[in-house]
Symmetry: C2
């Protein structure tokens, strides 16, 4: 098989058999939107369930899952920095009006990588290299930044701007205190979320790889920055393949191999929990059938990182068409998000860390001039005093340092001379800290594509989709060997029995048995049950393994148990 | 317990223990948006899984599930009628600028039901009854229609309007032909979808009952209108409680009780498959623990129905606060949606129905004046001819009947004299039909609320959340009876073993055993394992049932099996 063709074959099969296809095709389609068909939806759900098992179920002592809305009010994404930073550079053709991503255009038509360049620098390159509209040859406008948030309004007032979330993380951060309380106020605490996000890409390409709407699966993992150690690192066997930014700058493209623990000790990975979740990510990807040498982690260079991240690794996987593509991002978000929301909302996002023993210490106390507040805010003064009290002394100190005459806390503008922060000596039982966060984040649809691309194989000109047994959308096929009422009746009875166990089963009696095997192999059905004339004599059927093509005969009453055992393990069919 | 307080208690518990709470509270919240906390997210997933089992898994021969985007282009919702019809009446206070739902305002302040009234009639009532702004007493503007679609733009061009889907159905209709082909071109065919939808309510109230964003679970079930019978009706035991529109008009509020089959035979339900899915809906709701006499189906009156429906029943369930609320809608959408998309897209949505024997018949043929098309459309004429050919003769006949000089097919305006429909006599092997559709549709978050409201009970001043065993988010609790290293170690070992079976388990060693039982009962943990001193002697532990409080002693090696058996059945713990 020509590897260059493989991707096209996967996409053709995906359309024909019902894994995925472009959305709204009957209206000409919309770039960056895809439907998952009957097989694709089941496959995606199996990938999501597996992610949930690895990141939530196996870690239920320290990780919980929540669900927050896609629609997000302006204030939240303004605080998080997305309104300002979540942009791509765009240019417009001054003749035909078409719009392009400036960085892609310059890279393709001038061969220059612009990542990390300022807008002015990209403009300069466009001028110097004479880049023009690739469609009509017209001149280009100046580059500007285009915000990738889908914008809407919430309710009937046009000023109530909202967005579709570009990540699920902000719903987690804004709910952090409620979850922390429901979790009985313990750290570390991982809060997972699986759900739709949307990014208004300027001109999405690469089919299912770059979507305008996709399913994110992420964990915001909160830990005490004064005690960042992770006792699970000792359990992390095997090596992580890491292409550090140091190596990349030197032009090296071969990753180093370090255990998670070694990567932390050598400071290649900046914080222990990040190394731990990268190890989980590696194993999760392996559980999808991806060979270990088809994946590694690439550290992002400073100008490649998101605005909130102190260190980022992308996990890359090989795909037949584009080489290496990103399947997960691992960001050390520090206390960036909680601090920003604390500042913008005026609410306290800190957690109280109790000392083993109370100590005598210098502490910073917030003193509020209640008389002045009362004069300025009248009947609202209690609310204002509560708002100020809920903000930590360190945050207030920062706010007080600015040149403004007022500090903003939530909706209130408070005169600076109404608030002071003073150092006093006190007996203290603990302290308030802002937790730090590491974030592993995956896209489900891209994984679906990778799983299909990785599983696709051809044997004697026929397609066999070698999906891991526990991911296959259709789990069992049942056939009568030939067209015969008695065989068909028996086969249907077995079909009903397998279905009643919660399995997805296909019954197929049309065409030769060879054609039916081929039809099932093409969509990765791992095991088939065939009823033949011998079945009527001795009540046995054949079980056939999709991959080895080996067949065994089993007694009718063993079918369910053998099939389940086969699907849940990787044992050879002859060993059942 | 005072029933009036019950709902408030459920909401308080939901916030405190992590079922749900208003989203973005730290920024003052957004009406109509709720977060699901750690327990709520699991509970919702269990409800979704159960729906999937009832509506997809058990019907896998005839129902498949797909997933299409939330973001929907203008053309699709224009064709479906949502751009024009998906509205609520709104008035604005001319003094303070606040906006209100006109129907709610008139009902609350003039005591008059306005459903079914025209805009002019509502205006008249407002004038006659002197309805004013409930907040500031100002005069009101004229009533206008406010579209409830969340609007956005797709990509960088401001004219590319898109919406957040208000139902998942349109993604199913536009993908119908692809799914039909992947399903090997058979009818009946149900296409299910579970996913987020958004409705920009003017002023949502009732907390989790009326959300601006929620999870819809629906099936568009396609069948042959010439052969609408449903052979599964014979299996439908029990009665459906039906409050027909006839009864409602007569002022009767007691439903009649008919079996699904009787309801079809007496023409109370207009089409057999609708009756079948209502029977499934009844059983699904029962499986959530709702008593049968807490639910019935109410037929909508003509002015209450959506624009696409020939008959609609809402399934109502009793909830402590608001009486009866809608949990599912059952609409007979006929061929409305496929026909509209056929007309607007110019694509063929019909399916070919093969006769058993070819017959001689009068058939309507489309004749196209290709010369004229060529003259008008020049190089696009092949596309135009293809577009015309793909539309059925019956649709073209309807289009040709209008007074316009042109007919619109997809993007083309075609002169009427270029197309004629003529009757000819031919040997035909089958015919093209537009399938009809019935739709059962549910909201997951509302079900979650109802399940909690229904399960909430108090015993001796303590809360017991009597969730069905298979819905409980936390499935097992494990306790050491008293603080003791050996007991704790043993309890932790059992905890790990139960977790490794994929169960959600809580380990709790803080406070008295009574307090720990209470904490678990409050969130509906169905069964608890307690390790005590006797465990060290004879390797037995106690299992305690949340509801009966009965306890049994079992041997350590039986724990997993007994717990699983208990969770999967409704058998008494003493019978395990």
């Amino acid at each position: 098989m020509d590897v260059a063709d493989k991707y096209d074959k996967v996409v053709e099969l995906a359309k024909r058999r019902g894994f995925f296809w472009p959305s709204y095709e009957v209206y000409g389609g919309v770039a960056g939107l895809y439907d998952l068909g009957p097989l694709g939806a089941v496959l995606k759900n199996r990938i999501v369930d597996k992610w949930r098992e690895w990141f939530v179920g196996k870690h239920q002592d320290i990780v919980v899952e929540i669900e927050t809305p896609v629609i997000t009010p302006y204030k939240v994404l303004e605080a998080s920095g997305h309104v300002r930073h979540f942009t791509d550079p765009i240019v417009e053709c001054m003749k035909c009006g078409r719009k392009f991503r400036a960085d892609q255009l310059v890279e393709e038509h001038a061969g220059i990588k612009v990542e990390g360049m300022s807008i002015d620098e990209i403009n300069k390159v466009i001028g110097e290299k004479g880049v023009r509209c690739p469609t009509c040859g017209g001149g280009l406008s100046d580059v500007r930044l285009f915000n990738l948030l889908f914008t809407t309004t919430i309710g009937p007032y046009s000023q109530d701007v909202g967005y579709l979330r570009p990540e699920s993380a902000q719903g987690i951060f804004t709910a952090f205190k409620r979850v922390y309380e429901a979790f009985r106020e313990r750290l570390p605490l991982g809060i997972a979320q699986i759900g739709k996000v949307a990014r208004n890409e300027i001109s999405p390409r690469q089919g299912m790889v770059r979507l305008r709407e996709f399913t994110i699966m992420e964990v915001e993992f909160f830990f005490d920055p004064e005690n960042p150690s992770c006792d699970l690192l000792d359990r992390c066997d095997g090596k992580l393949r890491l292409l550090t930014s140091d190596l990349r700058v030197k032009g090296v493209d071969k990753p180093v191999e370090l255990s998670a623990k070694e990567a932390v000790e050598s400071e290649v990975i900046k914080t222990p929990w990040m190394a731990y979740w990268m190890w989980v990510a590696k194993n999760f990807i392996k559980s999808l059938g991806i060979p270990e040498d088809h994946t590694y982690f690439e550290e992002k260079l400073p100008h490649e990182k998101a605005h909130y991240s102190a260190q980022t690794f992308d996990q890359l996987v090989r795909i037949s068409r584009w080489g290496w593509i990103e399947v997960s991002g691992h960001a050390y978000r520090t206390d960036y998000d909680l601090s920003m929301h604390m500042k913008h909302s005026g609410q306290d996002f800190r957690v109280f860390k109790k000392y083993d023993q109370p100590t005598i210490a210098r502490v910073e106390k917030v003193l509020i001039n209640k008389a002045l507040i009362g004069k300025v805010f009248k009947e609202r003064s209690t609310d204002v005093i509560n708002a100020v009290s809920s903000v930590g002394a360190d945050v207030l100190k920062t706010l007080l340092k600015t040149d403004d005459e007022y500090i903003r806390i939530g909706e209130y503008l408070i005169p600076k001379n109404a608030v002071t922060v003073q150092e006093v000596i006190e007996k203290v039982s603990g302290k308030h800290i802002v937790p730090h966060v590491v974030e592993p984040s995956f896209g489900a649809e891209r994984l679906l594509l990778i799983v299909l691309d990785n599983s696709y194989s051809e044997e004697d000109g026929r397609v066999v989709m070698k999906l891991p047994r526990d991911l296959a959308p259709i789990q069992v096929a049942v056939y009568p060997l030939v067209s015969d009422d008695v065989l068909e009746q028996k086969a249907k009875q077995i079909y009903e029995e397998l279905k009643s166990c919660g399995l997805y089963v296909v019954y197929d009696d049309s065409g030769s048995i060879g054609r039916r095997y081929a039809r099932a192999d093409e969509v990765g059905v791992p095991i088939a049950v065939t009823v033949d004339h011998q079945t009527l004599d001795d009540s046995t059927v054949t079980l056939r393994d999709r991959d080895s093509k080996a067949q065994i005969r089993v007694r009718e009453e063993e079918i369910v148990q053998k099939v389940l055992m086969f699907l849940r393990s990787s044992v050879a069919i002859t060993q059942l």
